[in-house]
Symmetry: C2
């Protein structure tokens, strides 16, 4: 196998694995009534503290109009709150409600449970390798953004 074919196969496998992984995880996430983009945005808000809508859009690699609707959906569910900025009234700060934190935690628990079931069959060393691979994957994705 040449180096080129190797990279091609890696790209293909990565693409396919990502698609199918998300489809599987979405089934669990559905139990919380939240779509993947909403869950992802909520996660950023919960762990990344309050931030403006534009910052959130950039963090999620999405255009502002898309984020407006995601936030509107989250707000309607009572998971997030919009707050005006006293110093710059064009800005809208988004922060998580306590319900939002609870829902996110519950969703994580569900996902972890499913993933844990799949992972429990792995050898300890394989698990470490997977963890390492995920870390590298994150680096790759980050470098693609730059």
């Amino acid at each position: 196998m040449t180096k080129g074919e190797d990279a091609e196969a890696l790209a293909d496998h990565l693409h396919s694995a990502a698609i199918h992984l998300l489809r599987q995880l979405r089934k669990e996430d559905d139990a919380s009534g939240l779509s993947a983009p909403r869950l992802s945005a909520l996660s950023v808000v919960v762990f990344g503290g309050p931030l403006t809508l534009g910052e959130l859009a950039r963090a999620e690699q999405v255009k502002p109009p898309t984020m407006t609707r995601i936030v509107t959906g989250l707000e309607r569910e009572g998971l997030v709150k919009r707050k005006g900025d006293p110093h710059d009234r064009r800005l809208t700060h988004i922060e998580a409600t306590s319900k939002g934190q609870k829902v996110l935690t519950a969703g994580r628990a569900r996902r972890v449970k499913k993933l844990a079931a799949a992972v429990s069959r792995m050898e300890k060393e394989e698990l470490a390798e997977l963890r390492r691979g995920v870390q590298l994957l994150r680096d790759v994705v980050t470098s693609m953004r730059g």
Copy 2:
């Protein structure tokens, strides 16, 4: 960090990485005018030979009505053809056109190019680790489906 928190973090990172990876790759795939689901379905048809709409829907983990529209889109672009079955006229067989094969190949090349750029900055050993991680990821996803 406890073992539980560790698994939780891994699940979260995987989830997030998969979402962001797909968003990045979709930008390249857009150049071919094909969305991720269409590209994925086309890939199955090209490499998996002719198959019925229902089989394709199952392979892509999607309900038949969804696949009907994906195939309709692909057919309108001339990438795929519907063929009736002489023995069972309820069935519709889907097969790739030569244009479909070309477009898929071109899309792969684009994706690989982008991924290769991100990966070329990695050490040779890191690349091997990533490859190993992707293999494990595929195993995990497969075991989740079962």
